[in-house]
Symmetry: C2
């Protein structure tokens, strides 16, 4: 039986190792304290972390206020491209949160900044499969755009002599979430990417779904981006999470080492991956799309440093 016992012992060890490899640590009073002490800037995803649709998540205002009073910088990084930074600042204010435009980094802003960094020529145009936020950020950055919600009203009917004209001066197509998606826009974007030499194909993000209403998930930008990949057989440049493009701006703005930043998000494959890619600490909150069983599932390979029920836990645990 000695051999059997030895075998059992090694099985236990293997199980223990597997658990360690798939470690998922809840935030505790002790780890909350050491986390807050070691962090200078907290980066928050918005949807599922700060709010859900148009409803504030419980305890968020108090938690943000407490972190601010401890001298922490707060940054809000959202993949949702429907709004510009200006529109987001209004949403924060409407929910009673005091957040300035400078603290907001949306993927609509990131797309405009990408073109700016690329020195995208001002005489070239941008075709947008997406909503108002992208148009606003592009126009603020001085670019000329076509498409957007206006093209959502355009229709066409396939018939033998139909020829679809597109602007040969379009040098970039930006694709984000678009509730006004239609065949007209799909053809416009496809023609620009396939036929305009050197035309860039930029995705705000590739999230499969998002909580665009309080009650339900809806197809996300990943749906529209995939459609254009399907017709062009091209892959996009992604500027939102988990791409670290936004991080370059954050680093320049705040001059804080990424090891002193903590990314707080509700999605493993965007928020937590983004934080890890950039070298930040990571905290998953369960107030959005990810459940504890998804986090603990053996098929999940993305492990945040900690997890908590919601943002308010961070402060509540400090008081314990």
């Amino acid at each position: 039986m000695a051999a059997g016992e030895a075998q059992e012992g090694s099985e236990e060890r293997r199980e223990g190792e597997a658990l360690m490899a798939n470690r998922v640590r809840p935030l505790s009073p002790q780890t909350a304290r050491s986390l807050v002490e070691s962090i200078d800037a907290f980066l928050f995803d918005c949807d599922g972390v700060i709010w859900k649709g148009d409803k504030l998540i419980e305890g968020v205002p108090e938690a943000l206020q407490a972190l601010r009073s401890m001298g922490k910088k707060l940054v809000f990084v959202t993949n949702n491209s429907r709004k510009s930074r200006k529109q987001y600042a209004k949403k924060f204010a409407a929910l009673g949160l005091d957040v300035s435009e400078d603290e907001i980094f949306s993927s609509s802003f990131a797309a405009a900044m990408f073109l700016k960094l690329k020195n995208f020529p001002k005489d070239k145009k941008v075709y947008v499969v997406g909503e108002e936020g992208i148009l606003e950020e592009l126009e603020l950055a001085g670019f000329t755009c076509l498409g957007g919600p206006g093209d959502g009203k355009k229709s066409l009917q396939l018939k033998s002599d139909l020829w679809f004209e597109h602007d040969k001066n379009v040098g970039a197509v930006i694709v984000g979430l678009d509730q006004y998606i239609n065949f007209y826009k799909l053809q416009y974007a496809t023609l620009c990417i396939r036929e305009n030499p050197g035309c860039l194909f930029i995705a705000t993000n590739r999230d499969a779904v998002g909580h665009f209403t309080d009650l339900q998930e809806w197809p996300g930008a990943g749906c529209m981006v995939a459609a254009i990949c399907g017709s062009t057989q091209r892959e996009p440049i992604v500027v939102g999470k988990p791409s670290t493009f936004v991080m370059d701006f954050l680093l320049e703005r705040f001059q804080i080492d990424t090891s002193k930043m903590c990314m707080v998000g509700d999605r493993l494959d965007t928020d937590i991956l983004f934080g890890q890619n950039a070298g930040c600490k990571t905290l998953l909150v369960l107030s959005g799309v990810t459940t504890l069983s998804e986090l603990q599932s053996p098929s999940n390979s993305i492990h945040p440093d900690y997890y908590a029920r919601s943002v308010s836990d961070v402060i509540e645990l400090l008081r314990t």
Copy 2:
């Protein structure tokens, strides 16, 4: 210099081997004769082979007539799901071609036959992201469907209290080319696939683009299918080319060995691959989307047995 000569000789051999590996043989009077003699059934793709949009390709009626008079069976296999077999028969007739419904295998028919073979329960419903042809074939096969062009007129506007209802009895979603694609349909299909247990996700085909008008290419079913893959993170069952699902029907109908069939098409990644997957001889015609330089490109790995300018070449070469 002997060493140098030997090196040149081996370079020539390597070049020769590369050419053999990437062999592209034009149909000649001799190969046309041996091809026609060895084949009992010719399988034709339609768009780019028989017609382009609504225009017949030159010499096609005479070539088809000549093959019929030699006792060859003719079969028309199209990935375009916009029409039913009945509607295709009308299109053939309008173009002056005498083709019966029984000779036509469209991906819209294939989708309906797939459900029939799967014994899809008659009390379950099918949600269609696609056009009239799919609805017609499904109804002919006795299935109840939702969606299609009618849902192209439905719109929605995201707002906080919006809840989108979907039918829990939908047991299959079929996605094909849809010029009436919109956010409503994308959400409907996504909810069925993500939330109805066991719901099938069927693609008529995954063609990136198609010649749906005479003058231009347009985003194909591959665009709509990719969109639903993007929002559901699921992969579809493909019933059109290059899947060999249609071949099972052809074999049952015609009782001809696939080695005695020749697939004639204008696309390498659907038609020629379909023919090769099924064990048929293959002939690429250059009257559609594939150019000679694409065929001969070193990056192309799909090599038909022969290529010709168009279907009429087959008969013209026999007369040479």
